[in-house]
């Protein structure tokens, strides 16, 4: 990997992340490494490493982070933020970072599909008559969809 | 001050082998000051000898006694009773004291408990250095108060030998070269011109090695003419 020149990085990135809901804590990190030790994803895929991601964000390696595939690997298990002694809600910070990536349209395709589903049905799974009949057979109440509300909310 | 150092215990033990009543005689002046033969050392040596004898189940006793100076007959006479009861004496005085002790008590074997080392000074706690060879022809007046006879490994009188390195003696890199120091000192005092005078060779004949000094003025007390 080529040498990183700090003069070329983007010191404002950390402040931008901190402005996102949930991203506030990012700058408090003092790199104790407990988060990585608690991360189940790191254990199976070395590309994902909480303290490295937070380091890259703090250093301002904006492009490398937002265009990466690894930020989407967070399973949002909250393990990292439970162990953090500095109250960095890292799971929320990851959402904040992913939101920034999404704003730049760097999103895995599956996720945008879910958004469309919600707009269309107000649910991840369409409720067809077939579903409701199956439910009725088991003595369960029918379910309604409210796509208009979700469509309105999601614009 | 005369500086001496204690002989090893085994050497002392060996000397008095075969004697069973030993007096350990301390001297309260030079050897006390250089922590080799004062009252405490005398007592310690006596106790050590007794302990060793006890361990070997020998009939033995050692006593310690200390006087102001063993180089004076008056003080030595204070030992009379103790020497009477002893069959040998270990003197912790300098070589002079030991000999005088032996002379005053000619019937009793007197052994040295210390090795007399030199005439020197106390540099600090437990550190003594030699300053004088008692050569009887003192040059200190022209060598800035530093004795080349004592301090120079070759006792040179006319400047360094050519071997000193960084101000140290060629025989021992820890030892200051006397002549470098002499030149330094005289330089500080702006008296270097003194050294332009060449000193004649040191006299080494019988005239300069007096074994006796007699002050005629005191001797005259006894003459009535």
């Amino acid at each position: 990997m080529s040498r990183i020149n700090l003069n070329d990085l983007d010191p404002s990135f950390k402040h931008r992340v901190a402005e996102q809901p949930g991203g506030q804590g990012i700058k408090a990190c003092f790199a104790c490494k407990a988060c990585t030790a608690a991360c189940p994803i790191t254990a199976v895929d070395a590309r994902y490493d909480p303290r490295k991601i937070i380091r890259m964000a703090l250093l301002g390696m904006t492009e490398e982070i937002l265009h990466s595939d690894f930020i989407w690997l967070c399973s949002s298990c909250y393990g990292c933020q439970e162990v953090c002694p500095q109250n960095v809600s890292f799971t929320e910070v990851m959402f904040a970072i992913k939101n920034l990536a999404a704003a730049e349209a760097c999103v895995p395709p599956g996720l945008t599909g879910q958004r469309l589903l919600l707009k269309a049905h107000g649910r991840l799974y369409e409720i067809s008559d077939f579903e409701n009949e199956k439910r009725e057979k088991m003595g369960l109440p029918r379910i309604k969809e409210h796509p208009e509300d979700y469509d309105a909310l999601l614009g | 001050m005369i500086v001496a150092k204690q002989k090893s215990f085994s050497e002392v033990q060996e000397m008095v082998r075969g004697f069973s009543r030993v007096l350990v005689a301390g001297c309260g002046t030079c050897v006390a000051v250089c922590l080799a033969g004062g009252a405490k050392e005398a007592e310690i040596l006596a106790t050590e000898l007794s302990l060793a004898a006890t361990a070997q189940k020998r009939d033995f006793s050692a006593r310690a006694a200390t006087v102001e100076r063993q180089c004076d007959r008056e003080f030595l006479q204070l030992f009379a009773d103790q020497v009477e009861q002893a069959d040998a004496v270990i003197s912790l005085a300098c070589g002079a004291g030991i000999q005088f002790m032996a002379q005053v008590y000619p019937d009793t074997p007197v052994f040295p408990g210390v090795d007399t080392s030199f005439i020197g000074v106390a540099e600090g706690v437990g550190v003594w250095t030699e300053r004088c060879k008692s050569c009887n022809q003192c040059y200190l007046g022209i060598t800035g108060g530093i004795c080349p006879v004592t301090m120079c490994a070759k006792s040179l009188l006319n400047g360094p030998c050519g071997g000193p390195k960084n101000g140290k003696c060629e025989t021992d890199p820890d030892r200051d070269c006397a002549w470098v120091q002499i030149i330094d000192r005289l330089g500080r005092q702006s008296r270097l011109d003194i050294l332009t005078r060449v000193l004649p060779p040191r006299k080494n004949d019988l005239d300069t090695q007096p074994w006796k000094i007699v002050r005629q003025d005191y001797q005259k007390r006894f003459s009535f003419d």
């Binding site: 490494k33 407990a34 030790a37 991360c39 254990a43 490493d49 953090c84 109250n87 | -």
Partner: protein
């Protein structure tokens, strides 16, 4: 009863302030809740490894010797301050003095009482002379129960639970609060396995075991070789409101590690840390030595759990592997210094506030408080090492002495 200075706490700071005040000619009364003096330090062992490691624990015995020899100092053990009000001459206080329930001259330290006592820690051996002492703040009988097991078990008639506690009014011109600290309770961090995972102890527990000669590495396959020290347990942790460094634990752990190794050279210590906080004069040299003897790993473990072989396992981020679960024979938690338990009471009794870290008195190093004539000394005010507590106590005594002189002058006029 009248005294120039009332000192709350007979730990190393309280004792030292009393002694310094006595040197100034003042009289001092020390009030200590525990049944023996010395506070936490009384349970610390000497960490010397053939040479002194400068832990400072011996300073307690030094000052106790002095305090015992001083006729200007009165020490009331088993006693607490019930009420205090300030007057124009100082403070009027009411003390609750609980007489010692075990007569030291009859007790031979046989331990029969401890064997029958239902409350752990209520009857303990004095750290100074092996005799037993009763902590009335734990004893069932003095907490509203009816137990007399120890009295009945003692064959020498050394226990007497019936002497009445007394309320004693005291007027004091100055008060020095030296109530000490509370070690962080590692149960507040359940992921570190304390109390659950076998082989996990606090540094202070290990310390006391060594002091009382009860710690041995064992033999054979179960011999303790690998020992992990976990730093910053309850320190530098904003999540639990401890946004401060406890200052002493790095040095404490390094000393313990070196002590263990000096006694049992096959012990291999590992230290998990963030930044090593020690800066005594010759520290860098000693850190170098310590680093050769202990493995230093800059990583905070996420969890300590019971491994498959029953040993404690430390889960941390390693250098190459991301998530390492490493088994150790023993895991030592370097628990931090927390504000003392009784601080809330002291605050309301004396009308002062906690500082920003939750300790008593002002921030920083000052020994004065918002109340005239009220001083703080030692770890009651901030985390402090033994040595620092002593120098802080000397300063507190200095300030109190100045105050006492001012009061005396005013009275003269």
């Amino acid at each position: 009863m009248e005294t120039d200075a009332l000192i709350v706490g007979a730990g190393v700071a309280g004792l030292w302030s009393a002694w310094e005040l006595a040197l100034h000619g003042a009289t001092a009364t020390i009030v200590e809740a525990a049944p023996y003096p010395g506070g936490h330090v009384a349970r610390f062992c000497c960490k010397a490894t053939g040479r002194c490691q400068k832990c400072g624990a011996c300073l307690l015995e030094d000052v106790l010797r002095k305090v015992r020899g001083s006729d200007r100092i009165t020490t009331l053990l088993g006693s607490t301050v019930l009420e205090a009000s300030d007057t124009d001459r100082g403070f009027d206080l009411t003390l609750l003095c609980r007489p010692p329930r075990i007569f030291p001259d009859r007790c031979d330290g046989c331990g029969a009482c401890t064997d029958v006592c239902p409350v752990p820690g209520a009857l303990v051996q004095s750290p100074f002379d092996r005799r037993m002492v009763l902590d009335q703040q734990r004893c069932l009988r003095f907490q509203g129960g009816e137990c007399r097991a120890c009295e009945e078990a003692c064959t020498r008639g050394a226990v007497n639970l019936d002497m009445p506690a007394q309320k004693i009014p005291v007027s004091a011109s100055a008060v020095v609060l030296a109530a000490g600290f509370r070690p962080f309770d590692p149960l507040e961090k359940p992921r570190l396995g304390y109390g659950r995972v076998p082989g996990v102890v606090t540094a202070a527990e290990l310390d006391e075991l060594i002091r009382t000669d009860k710690w041995f590495p064992g033999a054979g396959a179960s011999r303790t070789r690998s020992v992990a020290f976990i730093q910053c347990v309850g320190s530098r942790d904003a999540k639990i409101g401890r946004n401060y460094c406890s200052r002493v634990c790095c040095g404490y752990a390094l000393r313990l590690a070196r002590l263990l190794r000096s006694r049992y050279p096959d012990i291999e210590p590992t230290m998990f840390y963030m930044d090593i906080q020690s800066f005594e004069r010759d520290f860098e040299a000693r850190l170098g030595e310590a680093a050769r003897e202990a493995r230093l790993i800059r990583s905070m473990p996420a969890e300590i759990r019971t491994g498959s072989d029953g040993r404690p396992e430390v889960v941390y981020e390693g250098m190459d592997e991301k998530r390492v679960a490493e088994p150790y024979d023993m895991v030592v938690l370097s628990v931090g210094i927390s504000p003392g338990q009784s601080l809330g009471n002291l605050c309301s009794t004396f009308g002062i506030d906690l500082n920003s870290d939750g300790f008593l008195g002002p921030d920083g190093e000052a020994v004065t408080t918002s109340q005239d004539g009220l001083f703080v000394a030692g770890a009651v005010q901030a985390p402090r090492s033994i040595e620092d507590s002593v120098s802080h106590a000397i300063k507190a005594a200095a300030a109190a002495d100045r105050y006492l002189r001012r009061m005396a002058n005013r009275e003269k006029q």
